[in-house]
Amino acid sequence: MSVPVEITINGRVFSGEVEPRQLLVHFIRENAGLTGTKVGCDTSQCGTCTVQLDGAIAKSCTVLAVQASGSTVNTIEGLSDGVDLHPLQEAFWNKHGLQCGFCTPGMIMASEELLRNNPSPSREEIRHALEGNICRCTGYQNIVSAVEEAAGAMGGS
């Protein structure tokens, strides 16, 4: 049995027939072909699949594609055209906030929401906001520094 879904991802409408059990992350990766969003676990622990669902961050492995039908999703690919980088992307680059890059899309999407809600977070607050995103490479320190720098660049302090 398949059901129709229609999801707006990064401003573009993607529609298709999916199995009711299909996860949103698989819709994003397979149906929309946007592979910047990653699958790092199967127990909603790692945060590599983090996207924004109607403006709030969500782990897209915990949402069914059908549940997201009619919603608006933003992924890493929607953050910039790749030429003019978003301040968070720029800051992750400047501060060496990534190594293998696998956690990075999720980290950046989670950080983006943090800065919308709290434009000038302390390092402590950044660490707390990112506790749902695991990075095995960086030890987090430079990620925290990157978010701090982006906050400054975006007008916070």
Partner: protein
Amino acid sequence: MTTRSFGSGIRRREDPRLITGKAPYTDDIKLPGMVHAAILRSPHAHANIKSIDTSAAASQPGVVAVYTGADTDGVLAGMPCAWLIPGSDLKTPEHPAIAKDRVRYVGDAVAVVVAGTRYEAEDALEHIEVEYETLGVVINPKAAAQPGAAQLHDDVENNIAFTWAVAGGDADAAFAAADVTVSDTITLPRLIANPMEPRSAVASYMAAMGELTLWSTSQNPHIARFLTSVVTGVPEHKIRVIAPEVGGGFGSKIPYYPDEAITAFCAMKLGVPVKWTETRSENYLATTQGRDHVEEVEMAATSDGTITGLRTTVYAGMGAYLSTAAPGVPTILHGLMYSGAYNIPNISGTIYGVFNNGTPVDAYRGAGRPEATTLIERLVDLTAAALDMDPAEFRRKNLIPKFENGHDVATGIIYDSGDYELTLNTCLANADYEGLRAAQAAARAEGRLVGIGMATWVEICGLGPSQVAGAVGFQGGLWESAIVRFHPTGKVNVMVGSSPHGQGEETTFAQIVSEELGVPVEDVEIIHGDTDNTPMGWGTYGSRTTVVSGGAIAFASRKIKEKSKELAAHLLEAAVEDIEYDDGRFFVRGSDDQAKTIQDIALMANVAWSMPEGMEPGLEASAFYDPPNFTYPFGTHLAVVEVNAETGHIDLQNYWAVDDCGVQINPMIVEGQVHGGVVQGVGPALWEGVVYDDNGQPLTGTMQDYALPRADLLPDINVASTTTPSPHHPLGLKGVGEAGTIAATPTVYNAVMDALRPLGVNRVDMPLTPEKVWRAINDAKNGG
């Protein structure tokens, strides 16, 4: 004129594709007609397979094929063990890619389903009927080595895969003559490497040409090609292995796995591309793990505080089979490092590699050296305590004094260069050690459990001279090669055989070429990870890539410089001896305006309109670099913790690292390696460890149960460095990838033990979970 960047922390050239989500990892690859494989794994830790019925699975929706071990008979060879350590009576029992009549760990592959989608393949797994007859299970490596323990392999008595010994001096005499001896039993928990990207493979076979292409999450695509050829029988020159973007590895993507062979097997059988990607829970069963040591250790010293001897008996769990490099890890990479940063004249160690009913164990970040450093640094603290000496002072007294070109240690290896005391002093100064001890005394007076721990470490890396690799049984070489190619416009491609996957070498390698030949960093692009367009290389692990590939790049660049000089002389109508070089320009000595830039030379060499007699066209050079010795980075780390006596909870409050990895090409990347390494070393001290129940069922089977370091649990790490160049490396490099992981486990462990010392507690098994710590505190309080 270039802007010189060697030695400065320029931002990474690989990042734009990663921060925009554009970089393709293996699981992102989609080929026309591609189908999906899912692997059925044993639910039992040890059992005979009585029968397998795949008929119901084969008729499930979307299923293309189901294969069992029997289908691979005569097609797939057994999984190879490629580190055959000599002098150890090593046994290498057969390890079929798909188990045939017996399974030996939860996760052993039993069958594979190929279907149109991954959902369909996973559904069909549930319809495979397997009848098992369960057998006895053994998990603890020491228990597994005892007579009467359940036997994993019929021809391996007491599960002992090998017994390997290291000796120097006369340890027994040293212990007999010692004023003080201390002993301990240290358990290094089994660890899961946890790269954030799970393993994945995509295989495509063109029968008409006999060509196999394998995309793989590998740290070493050339080794993967070599071993794919051994296992599948496809000739090596007909195999192309591509490691696209790889999302971390930490050693767990070194081995050649059954899953890759199975994926290739399916693609060859079916003639369509096949993808297999593990789930995270599958990664926790089927991807090699690290450590799993039980170490019985002792140290001898004289009353003036001089270490005189070290003895060990180590039981190293190998898991159910010997993985690719497994035997070398607790032996060559471990036992040879028993002198640590100290003068220890008398050493003896016996290491048993023991089969147990767990996931195979292989290299994990640090591989053997964290296990060595932990036991040495723990014994150093215990000995200092027994002598009532300050642990920093005791270390200082026993450190090998500064040396610049070679120092022999009792285990028979020769450290390259070191100034261990400098890192110790720097670390103590950065941390204000005296201030910390004063604060600790005040806290103790209030009854608070504050601890200070340190480790002074040295590691063997930059692997390594191939002749030594051969002598110690490594079934490969350890050199690296590079091709540096100038295009007519002066832009450069560098092809390397190693395969960075997060360590930033696309940047540091470009910095080397820029430094050697004066081209802007932006004009250099590094190509790696594809066996079809890179020269042979042995891979990225053991903190070796920057060192060994970097050496090859430096030498290839220098060949280009020599040729450029000759061509410049010809074009400038001067004698070669009169040509000088500075920062990308070749000029006639004394007349600076008579010059050719490296870009001019690149153009003229490529068009080849006017070449000196006998000179070949083009501006390209390749070099093979086989290091004359290993490199030995070192450092001192220090941590402060506070233990909550009521809950057993440990608060890691402060951490200082002072590392010496020789010359640094990009200090920003070096720091990043230290940050990440330290956190991976803190993990097993405080949180990480695989737990099996008595039946061999993993109780830490998902990310929910295996406690990984998270952002909110850690302090910022204070990082500093000293620079002691390696005397034998063309750029003075030593390597830094594993440093933090090697140092952090004993540093944090010692800190917690220091905190508990007033209670008389001096050992708790890692990881130091609140429950274990609370129990130890309570037992001590109750006079236990």
